[in-house]
């Protein structure tokens, strides 16, 4: 990159631009890579992630598909079996339910059912999350559902660097990887090293060190959680913020190491409270760090309601900074 030549400094870009840069790099690096999905070509991607790629790579490698989630996801699986490295874009996780047969019954099982003969080196990207007043069929966070399934990997880039670096690692992985991009992040801006490249897709990351409580989160909730942590610091509470990054496999070691140090944990998860990723993280803490706890493990999740349209109701339904702060204050005993 040119910025690299300018002294190995940093470059400023948006999350959207970071994903696009990763796509461009992957398409340039490997002729087997192609992008397929609804409106990824001429429209430029419904979140404008793939804008400009059609012009550079042509319609064979930037494939607009019909509104047929099941067949274009299944075709991604078949193409991966056939020697390609497809990147399938599903507009939102809500639409991925039309392809869930292919993801769960095929992508996740074929390696196992074939006794290890066939791998599925497939990447499926999809937008997730609420907060844009898109109501109950465009706002849900179903990452936790997919994280339930053995045979696939689930990653949730929450930072510009991860948006830039996770795709290459996902493509290098011989198994299906689902990348969940929280739609609220696309306009986030940040600086990354000009030569930023692939990052691991196995480990959680400490985004802010702290000693009093572990705030464990991922994806679109990371920013809110970091804001809450800064606010808590004003009260003398030092919160450590753990970004899960990968929902499957979960990085138990980083989670438990943090909780053992702080002795308290709040999970922040945009998924619904019941039977979600937060519940899984809590269960692992109970199983492995119970005797290190100073307070019950708490969670801040979406309320148990289809995400409503009205702005104030939607805001009330999603995890927010003040809810995170209140949960921490309660754990610290400052509020009963």
């Amino acid at each position: 990159m040119t910025a690299h030549a300018a002294g190995g400094g940093t470059i400023a870009l948006t999350y959207r631009e970071a994903v696009r840069a990763a796509l461009r790099e992957a398409l340039e690096a490997d002729p087997r890579v192609f992008l397929m999905g609804e409106d990824v070509g001429r429209y430029g991607g419904c979140y404008a992630v793939s804008t400009g790629l059609l012009a550079d790579f042509g319609p064979e490698r930037i494939r607009d598909t019909p509104l047929s989630e099941s067949v274009f996801v299944g075709a991604g699986i078949g193409a991966a079996l056939g020697g390609m490295r497809p990147i399938v874009e599903v507009m939102t996780v809500n639409f991925s339910l039309l392809a869930i047969d292919q993801i769960v019954n095929n992508a996740a099982t074929i390696r196992h059912m074939s006794g290890g003969q066939f791998s599925i080196p497939l990447v499926i990207r999809m937008a997730t999350g609420g907060g844009k007043q898109l109501a109950a069929q465009h706002s849900h966070s179903l990452e936790g559902w997919y994280a339930h399934i053995p045979g696939i990997r689930v990653v949730t880039p929450a930072t510009i660097a991860d948006a830039r670096g996770m795709l290459a690692s996902a493509l290098a992985c011989p198994d299906p990887v689902l990348i969940f991009e929280n739609a609220l992040l696309y306009n986030e801006k940040g600086e990354i090293p000009a030569d930023a490249g692939a990052v691991d897709i196995d480990r959680a990351a400490i985004r802010r060190p702290g000693s009093d409580v572990s705030l464990i989160t991922y994806g679109g909730s990371l920013g809110k959680t970091l804001t809450a942590a800064e606010s808590l610091a004003g009260q003398g509470i030092e919160a450590e913020v753990v970004d899960l990054r990968t929902l499957r496999p979960l990085d138990d070691a980083t989670i438990l190491d943090s909780v053992r140090r702080t002795r308290r944990a709040v999970i922040v998860d945009e998924g619904w409270r019941s039977v979600g990723i937060a519940a899984e993280v809590m269960a692992r803490i109970m199983e492995q760090a119970f005797y290190d706890l100073d307070a019950p493990v708490a969670r801040v999740c979406s309320e148990e309601v289809p995400i409503p349209y009205a702005r104030h109701l939607e805001a009330a339904a999603l995890p927010q900074t003040d809810k995170i702060i209140r949960a921490v204050e309660h754990l610290m005993g400052s509020h009963d």
Binding site: R263, Y291, D292, L293, A295, L331, D336
Partner: protein, 391 residues
């Protein structure tokens, strides 16, 4: 559930000796509770009418749980019970009651002090009873910081803790309780030891004469003489009678000599003979007999276990010459006696065969010095040379 010792976490109510409507006076035995130290009779410190029995026989409840309501004279009866209640008999500190919040799952109020898992583990390591601490965590729960703070601030007041609430094996539990108390004693109390051999001939002669005129059931054993003499001698050296609390000595509210009694199943207890110095010898003897009987039957009263201000231990029956005892915290002294033996003894310049006993004192150097201990032993000797004054 009264605390019968700082190492007691819970008790199982064995039976109620009163029923609702009964009138009770302060000191009446109202219930029997099984503890790690055996069955213990519970007395009431309230007078009035038994209003309601809260805890069913067979139930184990933590220390501090309300087990019954007693209505004072003139108070109206309590309305019919809303189920079990939060601890309120807890001496100090009272945990903040959790405020009901919509987000919290509904359910009965907690019936035990909240202690976080890590706090409980650390308290166990430090020998602290976490349930005696003021909790600052959610809902007043005791946190790791609370335990560390307590350990740093007042190590001496930390009670010895035992692990699990209900040990399946009572004698194993007692062993652990003794282990915790003695380990703490040896860790925290700077003991000094003194001993002297006392000519007991005159006292024993007097005792035999007394016993000849007493009915068989009322006959006195020399142990009663030793206990009474100890009590009177303590009156002259009061800094050996009391407790080490909060970095200082707290004199005993009276002289309540605890008599160490070995149990047949192993282990020992040292229940108090209340106001030993004020009791006549017959009453001391009576109390000793009663305590031994009840200790071995496992039916001691709560106050008898928690009230001793000093302990007397005698291993004379087993041919031991001298005892070097370990102080039972938070007491500050313990007096030991060996066997009565015949020895050549110089009396007024002549060698005679006399019956003598070795008395020893272990005392807490934080409270008293050897000089005061020596004064105590001398006073003990003097009292025993004048047995009539012990009657």
């Amino acid at each position: 559930m009264p605390s019968l010792g700082s190492d007691m976490e819970a008790g199982t109510l064995v039976e109620w000796l009163v029923a609702p409507g009964d009138t009770v006076s302060r000191g009446d035995i109202v219930a029997v509770v099984e503890t790690q130290k055996g069955a213990i009779e519970i007395e009431t410190f309230e007078a009035g009418v038994v209003d309601r029995l809260v805890v069913e026989p067979g139930t184990e409840v933590p220390v501090g749980t309300v087990i019954a309501h007693i209505r004072g004279a003139g108070e109206p009866a309590a309305p019919e019970a809303p189920a079990p209640e939060a601890p309120e008999a807890k001496p100090k500190p009272k945990p903040k009651a959790p405020k009901p919040a919509a987000a919290k799952p509904a359910g009965p109020a907690p019936t035990r002090v909240r202690v976080s898992p890590v706090a409980r583990r650390r308290a166990g390591q430090l020998g602290i009873d976490p349930e005696t601490l003021a909790g600052t965590g959610p809902g007043g729960a005791v946190s790791l910081e609370d335990v560390e703070r307590a350990a740093a601030a007042a190590p001496a007041t930390a009670a010895s803790a035992t692990r699990a609430a209900t040990p399946p094996d009572a004698s194993a539990a007692m062993r652990r309780a003794i282990a915790a108390a003695m380990a703490r004693s040896k860790r925290e109390i700077p003991h000094y030891y003194l001993s002297t051999t006392i000519d007991l001939t005159q006292a024993l002669d007097w005792l035999e004469a007394e016993n000849r005129r007493l009915p068989v059931a009322g006959r006195l054993l020399y142990g009663a003489l030793l206990v009474k003499a100890t009590a009177l001698a303590l009156g002259e050296v009061p800094e050996l009678n009391g407790f080490w609390r909060d970095d200082g000595f707290v004199p005993g509210p009276g002289i309540h000599v605890g008599a160490a009694i070995a149990l047949r199943r192993g282990g020992l207890v040292a229940p108090a003979i209340h106001d030993t110095d004020g009791k006549d010898l017959g009453a001391v003897m009576q109390a000793l007999r009663d305590l031994v009987q009840r200790a071995r039957g496992g039916r001691l009263r709560a106050s008898e276990l928690s009230d001793p201000t000093v302990t007397v231990t005698s291993l004379g029956e087993n041919g031991v010459e001298a005892v070097f005892p370990v102080i039972y915290p938070p007491q500050v002294a313990i007096v030991g006696f060996g066997s009565v033996v015949e020895r050549p003894w110089s009396v007024d310049g002549r060698i005679e065969s006399r019956r003598v006993i070795t008395a020893s004192l272990a005392a807490d150097h934080r409270v008293s010095d050897g000089h005061r201990g020596a004064l105590f032993l001398r006073a003990l000797d003097r009292r025993l040379q004048d047995p009539e004054t012990l009657a």
